[in-house]
Amino acid sequence: MYKKRTSRKWKPGFSLVELIAAVSAALVLILGIGIMLAHSQQGFNRMYKRVHSSVVEDAYSTRRTFDRVVRKATTQRCDLAPDGSELYVYYYRDPTHYDPTDPSTLTPDSYARFYVETGGKELFVEYGGNSSGRVRLARDVQMSASNGPLFSARGRTVYMALPLDNGKETMFVTSSAVRHNK
């Protein structure tokens, strides 16, 4: 009876050594998991910025607009500012409306002006002639002499070299497009 009572009351616990070992192991595990989580978070943030930062979105939309507009532009004329910060290309609003005997269909009726607002960092495209409107393409343009001209042209090809920098992300967008219309 005594034995039974004694065995029922005595509850074996952890020794100090066991406790220290267990806590140490847990700490190592928690530290490892913590570092892993922190790295994952950093990676996520970095990837998120790369995909969704204003620089990337502006670069993507600017390149698409530049391609779309310049590809349909006429080879008759293309005007550039001396410092390459401004570009005018001319196009036919309705290219299917063509009649070699009708002079009114032989000259472009619309234009697009790509420009960086004076003193600013914003790139716009302005549509004129039979089209109208103004669209902001990019917000963080970093114009500098070392980056070269923003726009240049040679023959039927128009080039764009757009440096973007929002303080966190930097990107240099280059694109070229051939003017197809006569």
Binding site: M36, S40, M47, V51, R71, P95, Y98, G155, R156, H180
Partner: protein, 395 residues
């Protein structure tokens, strides 16, 4: 009692399982988010590259359709077309079709496909006269010092000069030469294709064309080929009147004059044609269409006199076997030369008015060349021409 005791003894498991489960769920959520963002980025990149590939395929289809139109025989009942042609080194495909349009030309529809993305490119084309170029060659172009170039009959127009060559130095402009227009070199040609000496000027730009000109070969009209061979007159005065004529050769000896009169005179010379020293070829009125099966040489002091003053009234066509045309006029030359396999040497000591299309071109003397803009208004269906895009759009 036993069960109660067991439960109370095993219930001291603690928080380990919920803690591990929470961490796993947390890591799982972060993993999903990273994957989603990564996938989004890759999706945008993949979509962009797919769209670019589809568009490139459509562009390639359009280029090939144009090439087929310019280099193969076809008719309105058998127009060029192709379906699902793979673009080399790519998973993209293109198709194209050509259809007549309402303004007398042809409309090309080209479709590019890649992994479900489809792009359409359209182009309205029409014939462009090769005479619309002042000078166009396949190879080299040389202008000696102090060459003057302009337009005629209205001055100060634009003169475009073109070569298919991309060889450095293929275009050589001597000192004090002025080009009032663009110089277009072959596709991919760099700045060094054009060598400009000091004090020479180019008003326009120097740039590379997006494609070479495929100079169509000269085909001698059937009515000329079917004519019986006539004997040429070598000395003294000789007059050829309206209609087709065919000669084995023409060799005008010293001082002889060959006069062309009447309406349209067409001559096919199977072999060489030579104007000796002091010989004259004179077009009084009407027009001369001269088809050359061999070389053409006008010796010193010989003259080609086109009294009409219109380059279109003297048109010289060199066939595949015509390899050299040499002009040494001492009076103003009005004429247009189309000889895609011939080297053209212009030694005229007086001005030349017209257009020169050949294999190479060399203006020997420091002369004057005026492009006759009226040549560009001729009927493109009956003159050397090629199809060119007039309007272009995409979808």
């Amino acid at each position: 009692m036993k069960i109660k005791r067991m439960l109370s003894r095993n219930n001291c498991g603690g928080l380990v399982l919920p803690l591990v489960a929470t961490i796993v769920v947390f890591i799982f959520l972060i993993g999903i988010a990273v994957l989603k963002v990564g996938f989004g980025g890759r999706y945008i990149a993949a979509m962009t590259s797919t769209q670019i590939a589809a568009r490139s395929a459509a562009d390639a289809g359009l280029t090939l359709a144009l090439h087929e139109m310019n280099n193969t025989l076809w008719s309105d009942s058998a127009l060029p077309s192709a379906g699902d042609v793979p673009l080399p080194n790519s998973r993209a495909y293109y198709s194209y079709s050509v259809a007549p349009n309402t303004v007398g030309g042809y409309t090309i529809t080209s479709t590019g496909k890649r992994d479900g993305e489809t792009r359409y490119v359209f182009a309205m084309t029409s014939r462009t006269l090769l005479w619309s170029y002042a000078i166009a060659v396949d190879g080299s172009l040389t202008f000696k010092p102090k060459t003057t170039i302009d337009t005629y009959p209205d001055a100060a127009g634009e003169v475009d000069i073109r070569t298919n060559s991309t060889v450095p130095g293929a275009v050589w402009l001597g000192p004090d030469t002025h080009i009032p227009g663009d110089i277009v070199v072959g596709p991919g040609g760099a700045d060094d294709v054009v060598q400009v000496k000091a004090s020479s000027e180019i008003d326009g730009q120097v740039y590379a064309a997006d494609s070479t000109i495929d100079f169509p070969p000269v085909t001698v009209p059937a009515d000329l080929l079917s004519m019986p061979l006539e004997d040429p007159c070598e000395t003294g005065p000789w007059r050829i009147t309206e209609g087709p004529h065919r000669y084995r050769y023409i060799d005008r000896k010293q001082g002889g004059t060959l006069t062309i009169s009447g309406g349209v005179v067409s001559i096919y010379v199977e072999g060489t044609m030579q104007l000796g020293n002091g010989a004259k070829l004179e077009i009084e009125n009407g027009s001369l269409l001269l088809y050359l099966g061999g070389d053409f040489t006008a010796d010193n002091t010989s003259d080609i006199i086109n009294a009409t003053g219109e380059a279109s009234r003297l048109r010289m066509y060199g066939t595949a076997t015509c390899s050299k045309i040499v002009l040494r006029n001492s009076v103003a030359f009005y004429g247009a030369v189309y000889a895609p396999n011939a080297d053209l040497y212009i030694h005229n000591s007086a001005a030349s008015y017209g257009s020169f299309i050949g294999k190479t071109f060399e203006m020997k003397n420091s002369g004057e060349f005026y492009y006759d803009t009226r040549l560009g208004e001729m009927d493109p269906t009956s003159e050397p021409s090629f199809f060119q895009v007039q309007r272009w759009w995409e979808r």
